[in-house]
Amino acid sequence: MTTATDLDAEVLYGQLLAGVRKVVRPDAVLVGIWSGGAWLAERLQRDLGLAGEHGVISSTLHRDDFAQRGLAASADATRLPFEVKDRHIVLVDDVLYTGRTIRAVINELYDFGRPASVTLVVLVDRGGRELPICAACSAARVDLPAGQRLSLARDTAGRFSFEIR
């Protein structure tokens, strides 16, 4: 088991790329979950040599904690520059935890049409699932205290690192 401080996001990205290569169909489209997942999808799209543009999806409009948290002041809009209907969708996220974000973005995805299939790939799986959701591929499995937040950061050169708060 890895601890959070051992995580090297660039090394893990390399492992994710290799893993995704095995599970992704040539006709699949990548959809990154805003914001960390969207950066990963953008880079994977390039490194996998997939045609067209990747999509970006936001959980905001389908979150189950809206009554407690309200609408955050962020401009994270869903942008899917392709038909969702009958497509093989690969959702990409930086950190998989309770699974609630994934539930919300699957609902969001269905507002655009009925996909042929949805697969999930993540950089880090930190356990702690509260819903029956699992990733087809993850580069690392870590244990973190419940109060700690782990998320991906990207510098101006496009290099990844982790933020732990």
């Binding site: 409009l61 609408l71 809009a77 507002d111």
Partner: protein, 320 residues
């Protein structure tokens, strides 16, 4: 001394009611406009509905008639998955002598979560916001001559959509300003967003004298008023609010202040023409301008739904 708080904001400066644009922090206005941008795309999806207000009851309380505003609020609430109850109050309980606060108490007992209020008396939505249960949110859909904040916000969304930046604009508001709650909300919003030049254009009888104190330039000459303007907001001549001889006639008004292609040529070539609707063709605006390529009157209607979705979802997500 007691601190007088803006009744629309909670302790964290978050919006819990929308009563007026006056006194709203610029950040709150931008947050509403940004959120409206997200909802605009929802209206283009295959499923035009998101579940943010699922299980909530929105009561449209229109003490004064308005089919269009009520309909856009209804569409906005339904696209947020709320249950919408339309009450034609003008023809029901108040006609039987019930007081405003008794009506509100009764509707609160039906577990309302939000009131969208239009009233001919300025300040009525404030009174309701002060007396309703803490979990209930109030949106002002137009009160007397005072404010029409969602119209003001959708006008700002429209201007931002076409002009991007507010800080280099000349905006002319033209027509019956004295009776117009839209004009008042627009002027407060334009000031909040940093528009350097706001002009109020109209005859002396229809332009209030105190506008200069709000930093507005008053012009009684139409040509001077719209010269080099980036944005022209035409107002409806409000016959139903007109008492006494404020105007010689509608045709006289059109001759002097009606927007024709000829007058529009004095504004910047890329100026946009706005109108809160419903338009009186041949009274404040010529058909060729209303239907022309500088007119953004119909996009305003589309943006209005997204802006109302943004307002309702933001206030519903904030606790008092």
């Amino acid at each position: 001394m007691l601190e007088r708080r803006n009744p629309q904001l909670n302790r964290h400066d978050e919006l819990v009611h929308l009563l007026s644009i006056e006194g709203l922090p610029r950040a709150v206005v931008h947050h509403i406009l940004d959120t409206a941008g997200t909802f605009l795309s929802v209206n283009e999806r295959e499923v035009k509905k998101v579940p943010l207000l699922r299980g909530k009851s929105v009561f449209n309380l229109f003490f004064e008639n308005s089919t269009r505003t009520r309909t856009t609020f209804e569409i906005a609430a339904k696209r947020l998955s709320a249950d919408v109850i339309n009450l034609d109050i003008a023809r029901s309980s108040t006609a039987k002598g019930e007081s405003l606060l008794d009506t509100i108490a009764n509707l609160s007992a039906m577990h309302a979560d939000m009131f969208v209020v239009r009233h001919s008396e300025s300040g009525a939505p404030y009174l309701i916001a002060q007396h309703c249960a803490p979990h209930v949110h109030v949106v002002n859909a137009g009160d007397g001559r005072h404010a029409h904040p969602t119209q003001g916000l959708l006008d700002m969304y429209t201007i931002r959509h076409y002009k991007r930046d507010f800080t280099n604009l000349v905006v002319a508001v033209v027509g019956d300003i004295v009776h117009s709650r839209v004009a008042r909300s627009d002027i407060h919003a334009l000031t909040t967003l940093g528009v350097p030049e706001i002009r109020a254009v109209g005859p002396k009888t229809l332009v209030p004298g105190d506008l200069a104190e709000m930093g507005v330039r008053v012009c009684h000459d139409m040509g001077e008023g719209i010269r080099d303007a980036d944005v022209i907001i035409m107002l409806r001549l409000q016959n139903e609010r007109m008492s006494g001889a404020m105007l010689p006639s509608a045709s006289e008004f059109f001759k002097t202040y009606g927007l024709t292609a000829e007058k529009l040529a004095r504004a910047k070539p890329d100026a946009i023409v706005m109108h809160p609707g419903p338009i009186n063709r041949g009274v404040e605006i010529d058909s060729s301008v209303a239907d022309g390529n500088q007119s953004v009157i119909l996009p305003q209607v589309t943006f209005g739904i997204a802006v109302r979705m943004a307002v309702m979802s933001i206030i519903a997500g904030n606790t008092p």
